[in-house]
Symmetry: C3
């Protein structure tokens, strides 16, 4: 690609350009890594220092930006409403690797009862089971397993080695990353007459609404009865465990290696850090924010609060407690001193 | 399906029925989710309230059940010895999705030296290596990798994308869930003369006894020498790490994302919560119960106790410690007060 | 195999042999598990007791070994400079299962534009995409997915079900264990005008230097821009999460289930225990040692120190704090006693 500041103004809405409007730009990079043919962007005030030292050829700047010092003379300034958005739009248009064309690679296994429109991609060694329904513009990569009666919506991408077990329903414009396992049996047993653990048959399913992402090697178990559900716009990172009958509200984002135990409900617009554990049968209020490595063992009923620690408390309480814990080494000598004074005054 | 209370009495042992014996039942659901054509069950006294408000058409009740209030008039009561067991038996019989028929789908790779009985299922794109032996009624799903000299017992199910590395031995009636990796090399290195980490060759294997479940994307590493072993009836949830040379005793159940480090032995009938970590070369006594997110760095020698925390302590000690930690914010001011008093009495 | 102490002396450098030089040895085992036809070794002084009770037929001993008690009479002693190294060299030579021969199994998918030397192994159902370059002596196992423009160096092994997403670069003599996912999209979103989470296009890649191991079901995400990089000799255990733009210095080893958040840099020669979490945008100094289950939320700037806890502190401080936490139950009564005394002296 070769792009110029003036060509950028034809793609995204630019208020004004300061500097060389015809400077050739060949790549995209962060302020600290950019070379003189790269476009960069500035939007987080914490990194303003990088602006004065960047080697980038051009930078996208917010409309209200006021430089505290002179910017490098070789740096073309392109003022836009939202530099991050403009930058990612350009990256997507010029550099994102193309998805595969519609069509079917050889050596796939497609059951004759499956319904698959023409405008889809089915990779080599993809497995499409009985009565599967796939929406138009969907892409099923090599080694994807799509079990019987699965429904996959329009534009959804199923990456290599993802496993979609039977009767799962996936909405439109979702992305299922490599190695994700959706709809495996939940971990449920009852005490039998002779065996300690008899399997509880897991006859429910997983329902994934539109615009959801499921990260690499993440597991979402099917429900015992009923549904395990990921709401619209939910984003799951890698290596997450979602147990049977969990419900996750719309637009909740969860970082890697977090685990949600069975039948727990997470509200909409929550944010969970990495390696969080949430116990079973809880309810987490809308808009909760839970710090990495926290352990939640009680329901959270007040919406919109931040939590931290194991067992989790409100973040300020927990930070205070952590600070005081680190002061324990000074507390004990003080106590001994006090004892000495009162016993031998 | 259509089932009636009187038809149920022909399948499971029913003591008596109160209400409409010929009510048509078409599904299975929990008390809170059931509609008027669903069968439900009641066995956990904590949920008795749901009995008085359920919309279910019929409910399985324990023989000694005494209603505290009148049950809904439309609710047929079916009294059985164990409602949970009766319910799951009926679910399994009427609703569990059928496993695939015996036979071989096209496009599998089966080494001519493999021994596979007729009454097995081998999915498309399954890979069966040299000298593999598979028991009758076993099911090997698409994309399963079964390495050289693996033995798989009668009735065992290997789900899509499971990887069984060479020389692993799996017993009868086991379930290997999607994406599980059994028999990958352990993580072992020694300091070489020129390299910091030289690989220790991992020539041991994994042995899995009968009736074991290994969860989705769970890893069980082969032994360095000798065996990594999962005892009879062991149940592993998803995303668990079992390192080389670990031994897990019969009927131990482990929840998701827990990790057991190398050469540790876990006794029989233990229960480990999710995200637990157990250090290497330890021994955990029979019947130990370890709470979620605990970290165990010393052997547990007394059997049958409950543990919690990181580092783990007996649960009562740990809960007391946690409670006192949360009281630290009141302790420090108190201490300052005391100091004030004794210094300026 | 049948080996004798004198035959061993032809393979590894032996200083002297005490006992039967022609004793037939058929296997390798640890001191505690060995039978009378097994070779064992002794190098860790903590296990010296096992030497006096072992049933092994022969043992490799360090040159400076001085027995405190008489060794068993049937135990042939073979003195070498480094018993562990000698033992593993022999194990590798006599017992390590052979890797597959060069050649191509049927049913692989190889894009005509891929460059693959003759002296490589390509398993059944391997997928090799457009313009892939594979080095000589590389082995690509069944169900490996090797995306477009991936480069794989000489002698590298890609085990079954590993996923190498497009444009990843892997060096020489690496091992990618089963189910590992390398180069999936990073977890990055920005606030859109209408959607809370718009995807940030992930156009960077993963670069893996020589002699790296990536464990089973471990995930290494591609960079947003630029590179996610694993330095030479890095060893990753199973089920690890390496987020986008992470840099890991040479010869750093990380145990299972640890997660490193986005853009964090880990120095060379670090050792991270299992289930550790490291927050994003941090820098961890060279030679740091971080205990299992620690949580690191600030950069570590002093090299070569040991850290523990969540939030992590230097190990001695943390151990002191943990010890004092366990003494809280005795602190509170003491405080009450003091209060009593000063208020009612």
């Amino acid at each position: 690609m070769t792009l110029t500041p003036s060509a950028i103004a034809e793609i995204v809405s630019v208020e004004r350009i300061v500097g060389d409007e015809s400077k050739p730009l060949r790549g995209f990079a962060s302020l600290t890594e950019a070379h003189n043919t790269d476009l960069s962007f500035f939007s987080d005030p914490r990194y303003e220092n990088h602006l004065y030292t960047t080697k980038a050829g051009a930078v996208l700047l917010p409309l209200d930006f006021q430089a505290k010092r002179p910017l490098p003379s070789y740096l073309t300034q392109i003022y836009v409403r939202r530099p991050d958005q403009a930058f990612y739009t350009l990256v997507q248009k010029y550099k994102a690797p193309p998805l595969p064309e519609w069509g079917r690679e050889p050596n796939s296994f497609i059951h004759p009862s499956a319904e698959i429109p023409e405008d889809t991609y089915i990779g080599a060694f993809a497995y499409i089971g009985e009565r599967v329904k796939i929406g138009s513009q969907a892409r099923i990569f090599p080694f994807a397993y799509v079990g019987a009666e699965v429904e996959i919506g329009e534009g959804t991408v199923v990456y290599p080695h993802a496993v979609i077990m039977p009767r799962t329903k996936i909405g439109s414009w979702c992305i299922i990353h490599p190695g994700a396992v959706i709809g495996a049996d939940g971990f449920g047993f009852y005490k039998g007459d002779t065996r300690l653990y008899e399997r509880i048959p897991q006859i429910g399913r997983v329902v994934i609404e539109d615009e959801v992402e499921v990260g690499a090697n993440t597991c979402v178990d099917r429900a015992t009865l009923g549904e395990t559900r990921l709401g619209k716009g939910v984003k799951l990172d890698n290596l997450i465990q979602i147990a049977h009958n969990v419900q996750i509200g719309p637009h909740t984002a969860i970082a890697a290696q977090t685990g949600i135990a069975g039948s727990t409900t997470i509200g909409a617009y929550c944010r969970l850090g990495g390696q969080v554990g949430i116990a079973d049968h809880l309810s987490i209020a809308e808009g909760s924010s839970i710090a990495a490595q926290s352990g939640v063992s009680r329901s959270i009923t007040t919406p919109g609060k931040s939590w931290r620690g194991a067992p989790a408390q409100e973040v300020r309480q927990q930070l205070l407690m952590e600070a005081l814990m680190r002061r324990l080494p000074e507390l004990y000598p003080k106590l001994r001193e006090i004892e000495k004074i009162i016993r031998h005054p």
